[in-house]
Assembly symmetry: none
Homo-oligomer: 439 residues x 2
């Protein structure tokens, strides 16, 4: 077994489930130790009620530029346990893959950055450029304290380019460069109409919270799932010609995409080409959960007193979450729903680096050199992350490059990481640093 695989095993053997604060502190100690071992100067930042943020730094005389690696050392809960073929926190190699909670998301990526830099130190003596490591411990619970850490230590997180958390390699071995993430507003809507659930015979005269929610939600989107809040799309920019070209070039196995999800068709009968564009540039308004009244077996005749609806709205550049939330509030109030309670869970804008940015091009060219083929380029992930905290504040570009695969079962049982993907990914990170330092 090679040393980098041993290091992933070492890190993934330490539980660090942030959702129930299980092993997070212990894992932060281990992560700092691993940084010290490669020779980094470290700081462990702390805040009340927050997981420690482990920071590391290494200077280089080869370039004045600084690259920042963002990763997280916390993991998703391992449940359901009975579906794991080997214990989630005793990583095991089978058929060239390492199995364990966190080996792909995000401990494998974290180690790949760390060991690449260590390789430079052990061979050339120093990395191609200055390096900063930002390893947080609560990404899986929404990175709720990350912005505080950054606001309190603005100099620490300054860089010229950011290598973000993750990246995937497809079944043919083709790597992906991702240039951004969508933003998000996550909220819960609550409507209350009665003080207690009533007998449903009174539905003839008493107001129904769930029916009001139906009307409220029906007013939020049309049948093509376009959001009806006035001004919602005002700031949405059309994709550039270059972005459209890049998107059109991307392979997309739409048949297997639908098969994986068991979907018969797409929203509004989109074509596969429209699907690719929508994943990048379509703002969403998703019902993540809705509940009211009786959910048990058989029948209970109840007029429910209240209804709850959790929603996530994915945003694209340059939609401003706070502004949209205000538009939503005004729209609901103007249409008879001024009494709806809006519980805001989180809010973050999108972040995106232009395709033509030199750092994006460095990552793309480095992929070509390392893998001998053009990478897939995602203009934006359809997902969300706190990337904007770095790219907006410091006005720097970012790329997502990494070592996971589409079959890594992230967040699921039997999470895994291909050992060859890990090895190749380290070479890619090194080449990206070289090209960046030289640019």
């Amino acid at each position: 077994m090679n040393s980098f695989t041993r290091d992933v095993i070492r890190l993934a053997s330490q539980r660090s489930v942030s959702a129930r604060n299980d092993g997070v502190e212990e894992c932060s100690v281990l992560v700092e130790k691993m940084l010290v071992e490669i020779g980094a100067e470290t700081k462990v930042l702390r805040r009340d009620g927050a997981a420690p943020l482990v920071y590391g730094e290494l200077k280089s005389t080869r370039s004045k530029k600084t690259i920042l690696f963002y990763n997280h050392y916390d993991v998703q809960p391992e449940e359901p346990l009975d579906l794991w073929k080997s214990p989630p926190f005793k990583p095991e190699v089978r058929d060239g893959k390492l199995y364990g909670r966190g080996v792909a998301d995000d401990k494998g990526e974290l180690v790949s950055r760390l060991k690449t830099v260590e390789s430079y130190l052990k061979t050339v003596g120093e990395a191609p450029c200055n390096v900063k490591f930002c390893f947080e411990g609560e990404e899986e619970t929404g990175s709720v304290h990350l912005h505080h850490y950054i606001e309190d230590n603005p100099e620490l997180f300054k860089s010229d380019a950011v290598v973000w958390e993750f990246g995937t390699v497809d079944a043919t071995g083709r790597p992906t460069v991702t240039l951004g993430v969508k933003g998000m507003i996550y909220l819960e809507l609550v409507l209350r109409s009665l003080e207690a659930d009533a007998h449903s015979s009174y539905a003839a005269v008493l107001p129904s919270a769930p029916w009001r929610m139906v009307r409220l939600l029906n007013m939020l989107k049309d049948k093509d799932e376009r959001i009806l809040v006035p001004g919602w799309y005002d700031a949405v920019e059309a994709l550039s010609e270059e972005e459209v070209r890049v998107l059109d070039e991307q392979p997309f196995d739409e048949v297997s995409f639908r098969r994986i999800h068991g979907a018969k068709d797409y929203v509004s009968q989109m074509t596969p080409s429209q699907v690719k564009k929508a994943l990048v540039q379509r703002p969403t308004g998703n019902i993540a959960g809705i509940w009211s009244g009786y959910q048990g077996p058989g029948s209970k005749t109840v007029l429910p007193k209240e209804v709850h609806c959790k929603m996530d709205f994915r945003l694209v550049p340059e939609q401003d979450p706070a502004e949209l939330l205000e538009k939503l509030r005004r729209y609901l109030a103007a249409n008879g729903f001024g009494d709806v309670e809006i519980i805001l869970e989180s809010m973050e804008p999108a972040a995106r680096t232009p395709y033509t940015d030199p750092f994006a091009q460095a990552a793309i060219r480095a992929a070509e050199t390392t893998y001998g083929q053009k990478p897939r380029v995602d203009i934006s992930s359809p997902g969300t992350g706190p990337l904007y905290l770095f790219t907006r504040r410091y006005k720097v570009p970012s790329v997502d490059i990494g070592v996971s695969s589409e079959e890594s079962a992230i967040h699921a049982p039997n999470e895994n990481l291909g050992i060859e993907n890990l090895r190749m990914g380290m070479l890619w990170v090194g080449e990206t640093m070289e090209l960046f330092a030289a640019s």
Copy 2:
């Protein structure tokens, strides 16, 4: 504590939640025991998969007429548990009221009939007329087997008049005679769009079951909660002049009605007079429960694979449930929802006895004698029961008279029964039997 209160406590201490078949068998044994104790001849009718129906009979030489008392010994689920001030199945007396699941609906009423007949046996030696008791154990799940029991034993349930399940006494001590019930269709709608919950970032392209449910439900009713299924109101008859007069005479403390339920206003800003008519003659379409996706704390970004909605539709004479269900199916299919699964839980037509019927008048005059005041007369309960099985087959009248109050919190936490109401209700039942036997 008096003996009839002790008997209600005895019966309500036995769980009998038919929705999850919890204690129903045990409760049927207890009910038969209580019938035997007063000297009734009993039969326990059984069918596969059905709750036992406990039948009791007592002959009288005082009249050839037979009165049938219908009650049920099963109860609604007790959830939500945390809102109960005392354990739901350990009935407790506080301030002249008995608290516990089922004390009002319907175990208090059941005991009031039983103990009234027992009083006659212990004093006069026999009841004013022949008596039959029909105590079923699955009223709260829609009385789905009652019609089988009746079809299989048509002679057993023959009578000249039926005293139905329940009745309320208002805050001023005025009793209510109710002359019918609404019908009902209870069903669950299920929409499925994916094979498994997906990451909500894919909401940009993959279909959402909950959004489709919003559109489906929005199509079922307009904003005044009028049902939009074509033909839904075709068979609905206007109230007669006499019914309108009786309704107009009814007191209705609409302020306290709204206060009890904590409702700010009525559906479509109805006037109090419209509310009274709607409770009698307005068909309803109620969302009794809806659920999909994530319902826990904080945020989970999931695109749910399916959504469920439980609905009850209350019907008035002469709406035919089977016909309406077919209209609903056709309407949904014609509007793009042919794939919705409709799980039918129960179906029953309305039943109503004319105000001028002699048995109705006997119950009204008995109330005047017992309470010293004119009773409230409800042309129909807003609720539902399988009354039609008796009144239609045997062409006999029925009345609802009873001992609950408007504050009994039926189907809700802290269900309760006033002990003085229980005592008076027993006198009223006796007087009704006397007048009926003499008529």
